[in-house]
Amino acid sequence: MLLEIKNIKKSFYQKTGVFGENRSCVKAVDNVDLVINQGENIGLVGESGCGKTTLARIVLRLLKSDSGSILFNGVDITKGSSAKLKHARRNMQMVFQDPYSSLDPRFTIENIMEEGFTLGKGEWCSKSTRRERIFETFAAVNLNRDILERYPHEFSGGERQRIAIARSLVLNPKLLILDEAVSSLDVIIQKQIVDLLADLRKRYDLTYLFISHNLKVVQKICQKIAVMYKGKIVELASADDIFKDPLHPYTKELLAASVEYRSVKGSAKIEFNDEMRLVDMGRNHFLLK
């Protein structure tokens, strides 16, 4: 078990009213449990605003959760100072949606790639080792060695996303969180990146948490899919089961929209209460009931 998410909750408060006298509460992540095993590939799908990215940020502790715990390699990363997390953070990296804003425009590619090395305390390595490691990653993502002196603006969207992936891989992480990593790319580049990700997973024995609203892309990469709606995981099953035998009305709506381009109003009737839990419906097909 690489990552175990237990009862994670996160609410955001919003001030409403003319003088901000009232506070309204949005439950962004509501009692989420999820287990990711080493080498497993989980797709997290749902519409925008359903809490996918918030969950990813909590896993990396870029955000603090309100309650619950997250065990990464057996260590609870929701507790303790962030200095203690440095080791765990090395092992989990994130690739962001928009390669135009996730790379610092004033950094050269070399700066971008080297930055990760400077963060890990006590794990210093020589410049030549770092170089070697960077070139190795470049080779893995099909980038040329001679780009080190260049700046992000000189690259196309697909190339930038490769650089972002290279940056996340350079420290040899175990878990890679890909937040809509291919959504902003056009279909041909999308295919290249999807193929690249499949190849990298085999080569480095990586574990992916792949976040997307596009079920078709998730199907190509992931063996397992978790469907999220309004802060809760409503269905969790193997990719085949989700596509062939969706159980939750929201999953059905999502499938109709992404495969047949039809809008079905399945989510209109969905109501949640606090007692609902993911129940095994057989063959490891979990449904929120």
């Binding site: 999502l254 047949e260 381009y261």
Partner: protein, 259 residues
């Protein structure tokens, strides 16, 4: 022979790079039959958007139309003066831009911006205009038109903004709607609704639509015919199901295998 709403012939658009100039749209011919939905497909940088912007003559200053003609209702749009073009643009040809957040002016209310189109292009009085705007907002499937009218663009979600922009584009009941990647930034569930809205408008208002996108899935569900573009050239055109079933060009094949 079905009458054509717009006919583009040998259009050349070039961009100047230092001393040289490069054709980013290279002798493109494309026509759209009345009442039909045509998909213009291609990778990013293939020149799709440039064609859309050429039709309404809103090209960036660096781009120059070097040749060809765009016939709309029998007249060449490229010979029109600026003021004459303004009468066509927004009235007879509507445009839905790619990024709805930047297409709206952030300091004006959404309703006022839709209203502005009517103020410019029609002789309706204040009350009728407002009623019409509310009707339009309702027509594109947005809830509580009164409230949306008073909202600023940033208060709407991506899908809602997209719908508001469609409302703005169809306000004057144009003959042709150019939709540039109208669903690319949206959730699949919202995307499905927008596609249904387009089908609906096509039937109700007899609206012809030029849909610019890189998503062949959307095209196959919405468009009657399709034109595939790469490197500034149209490499294949035809009926959607024929092209999807037996693509003749290598690039089309590659595109199909990716989606």
């Amino acid at each position: 022979m079905v009458p054509k709403i717009i006919k583009i012939q040998n259009l050349i658009v070039s961009v100047k790079q230092g001393e040289q100039s490069k054709n980013i749209v290279d002798k493109v011919s494309l026509s759209i039959a009345e009442n039909s939905i045509v998909g213009l497909v291609g990778g990013s940088g293939s020149g799709k958007t440039t064609i859309g912007l050429s039709i309404i003559r809103l090209l960036a200053a660096a781009l120059k139309i070097d040749g060809g003609e765009i016939l709309f209702e029998g007249y060449n749009l490229l010979t029109y003066s600026g003021s004459k073009m303004r009468e066509i643009r927004g009235k007879k040809i509507g445009m839905v831009f790619q990024e709805p957040l930047y297409a709206f002016n952030p300091v004006f209310r959404v309703g006022e911006q839709i209203n502005e189109v009517l103020r410019f292009h029609t002789r309706l009085d204040v009350n009728k205009r407002k009623a019409k705007v509310l009707e339009l907002i309702d027509m594109v499937g947005l809830p509580y038109p009164d409230k949306i009218y008073e909202n600023y663009p940033h208060q709407l979600s991506g899908g809602m903004r997209q719908r508001a922009m469609i409302a703005q584009a169809i306000a004057t009941e144009p003959k042709l709607l150019i939709a540039d990647e109208p669903t690319s930034n949206l959730d699949v569930t919202v995307q499905a609704k927008i596609i249904e809205l387009f089908q609906d408008l096509n039937k109700k208002l007899n609206l012809s639509i030029l849909l610019i996108t890189h998503d062949l899935g959307v095209v196959s569900h919405l468009c009657d015919s399709i034109a595939v573009m790469t490197n500034g050239k149209i490499v294949e055109t035809g009926k959607t199901d024929e092209v999807m079933r037996s693509p003749k060009d290598k690039y089309t094949e590659a595109l199909l295998s990716c989606s």
